[in-house]
């Protein structure tokens, strides 16, 4: 069972502690997505798993093996880099086959695997091309192909879609989900894109400043963020965070309300506010309203909401869906 386990793993570069005693448990076959703000140590975590960096402390296990001291190749992982890292002087076929040549596989087996991966990834006609002659999406697929042909126990992806344009990103995201379904291999996927995290993940790991803040299914994180950081990080538009008297009314230091749990009420409401901006997205309308007690709040209203900036409105909040946090930023039950 190639579970992936990290136990109290720490890593520092010079005086900078990049990972602070991180523990993680990723179950076999899971699609685990690591999210977090830039510089929080996501890539470093992935590189530790891959064996490209050495952990300063702690254990890294893949399956039943402690892999701390194993070379990348011996860990049976495959990594897809944000920059794709294709060998520029080799064509698509050789890019995929190059690593296999050193694994002692039969020539015919190598060819079979490459052809199969090329077919899966729709690279059939492009095998003779050099990376410079490929589009961004094709390079991306070649990089994924190079990982697939190794038939690894674990796939590691470091922001593989961040260099693609929006439309292609959605497509490739769907392809990746399909790939995970058909291969069933454990995947660890780093991104700072919420939508990718929410849509792809079986489980999301939220990191901040070298620590794991919370892990859980996308909906768990969305519905029950364990602390302020996760509350603010997961969900778009962001959760409204209210402090001061308005929060104390609910017995909390900070009160969190998702935009969809606020409604613009015709008459009675909890707060009075002035609309400052309205964004029409078609299906939804985001209304930005300044409330005297609560500051600027975002309200997610229906597609045909017709409030205008400058209007005075009443805001009503769904009391069953509020999130309360204590002074330390931890969720209160």
């Amino acid at each position: 069972m190639p579970d992936v386990r990290l136990h109290n793993v720490s890593k520092s570069f010079g005086t900078e502690d990049v990972l602070k005693s991180v523990s993680l448990d990723i179950v076999d076959g899971e699609f685990a997505v690591i999210v977090g703000p830039s510089g929080c140590g996501k890539s470093t975590l992935l590189r530790l798993l891959a064996g490209l960096e050495q952990a300063d402390a702690g254990d890294i296990e893949i399956g039943d093996r402690r892999v701390n001291d194993l070379a990348p190749a011996a860990r049976r992982i495959a990594m897809v880099f944000q920059s794709y890292a294709l060998y520029p002087h080799m064509n698509v076929y050789r890019n995929m086959a190059f690593g296999l040549k050193f694994s002692g596989l039969e020539h015919s087996e190598i060819e079979r695997r490459v052809r199969k991966a090329a077919e899966t990834l729709k690279l059939d006609g492009l095998l003779e091309r050099k990376p410079a002659e490929l589009s961004g999406g094709q390079r991306q697929r070649t990089a994924i192909g190079r990982a697939i042909v190794r038939e690894p126990d674990v796939f590691l992806f470091d922001e593989p879609l961040s260099n693609l344009d929006a439309a292609l990103r959605v497509n490739t995201r769907l392809e990746l989900a399909g790939l995970h379904r058909s291969l069933g291999t454990t995947m660890v996927y780093v991104t700072h894109d919420q939508v990718e995290a929410m849509t792809l993940a079986d489980r999301i790991i939220v990191m901040n400043e070298g620590r794991v803040e919370q892990t859980g299914t996308p909906l768990e994180l969305y519905r029950e963020p364990q602390n302020l950081f996760v509350a603010g990080f997961i969900g778009a538009p962001r959760m409204n965070l209210v402090t001061g008297a308005a929060a104390q009314e609910f017995g909390a230091e900070t009160l969190g309300i998702r935009p969809e749990h606020l409604t613009i009420a015709p008459r009675a409401g909890d707060w009075t506010a002035t609309v400052s901006m309205v964004e029409h997205l078609g299906s939804d309308t985001y209304v930005y309203a300044d409330a005297a007690e609560a500051g600027t709040l975002i309200v997610r209203a229906g597609g045909n909401t017709s409030v205008e900036p400058g209007a005075a409105v009443k805001l009503k909040l769904d009391r069953s869906a509020i999130h309360r946090f204590d002074a330390g930023g931890t969720r209160m039950t």
Binding site: L52, P72, F81, L86, F98, R150
Partner: protein, 275 residues
Amino acid sequence: MQNRLTTISVHTVLLVYTAIALLPMLLIVSNAFKSRRAIFADPLALPGPDTFSLKGFSKVLAVSDFGLYFVNSLTVTLVTLALVLLFAAMAAWALSEYRFRGRLVLGVLFAVGIMVPIRLGTVSILELMVALDLTNTLTALILVYTAQGLPLAIFILAEFIAQIPKDLKDAARCDGVGEVHIFFSIVVPLIRPAIATVAIFVMVPIWNDLWFPLILSPGEGTQTITLGVQQFVGQYVTDWNAVLAALTLAIVPVLALYLVLSRQLVRGLTAGAVK
């Protein structure tokens, strides 16, 4: 308009420089095809029907062991080139890729090698070669030239190797490619333009050198072209026909090598590697 002016002035400077650099060579080549009298009568004139003469060439080929000198020069240059490029690329890779003890000291040592001319050590080198019984061998020259060429070559190649994206090497490591193969299959192909540049830098001074052949290998069988030409330069009379013809012949191989190598220079090979 401004742009146009800049272009014109840049080209003027370059053209003048090219002319200055090429003129001596043109003089050598054109006079090599003239009779002795014509060389002295009007050195700047091109060979015409009545001044044309191949006497110099026939003399060079008949009188001296020109073929042998040629082979000697070529052997020394090519073997040195191969050694310098191989060792320099490997050292540059080690210095820029691996963090090991003494790395800094080694780097500084090579940098000093660039600054201190190897000829300062001629006496000790000669003593060393005598002790090793290597005088009057091509090996002596190859060893000295390899030492001479390495520092700058390492310096230049290390710069280029440092520019290879880290992800490429990491990708190869994840792929299970060993360090030796990463070097030969990924690093070397990617720095080919740099290797070609270095090859030219290294080759020309070796081919043209008179100093070390004169001191280390002046013997009959091991003379290089530059040394061989000297037999036509007398204390009182110089056989200009022969000297110029020999020099003309000596230009050919360097020119050929340069043409081969320069095709590599302009290519940007990392295109498409990342992003």
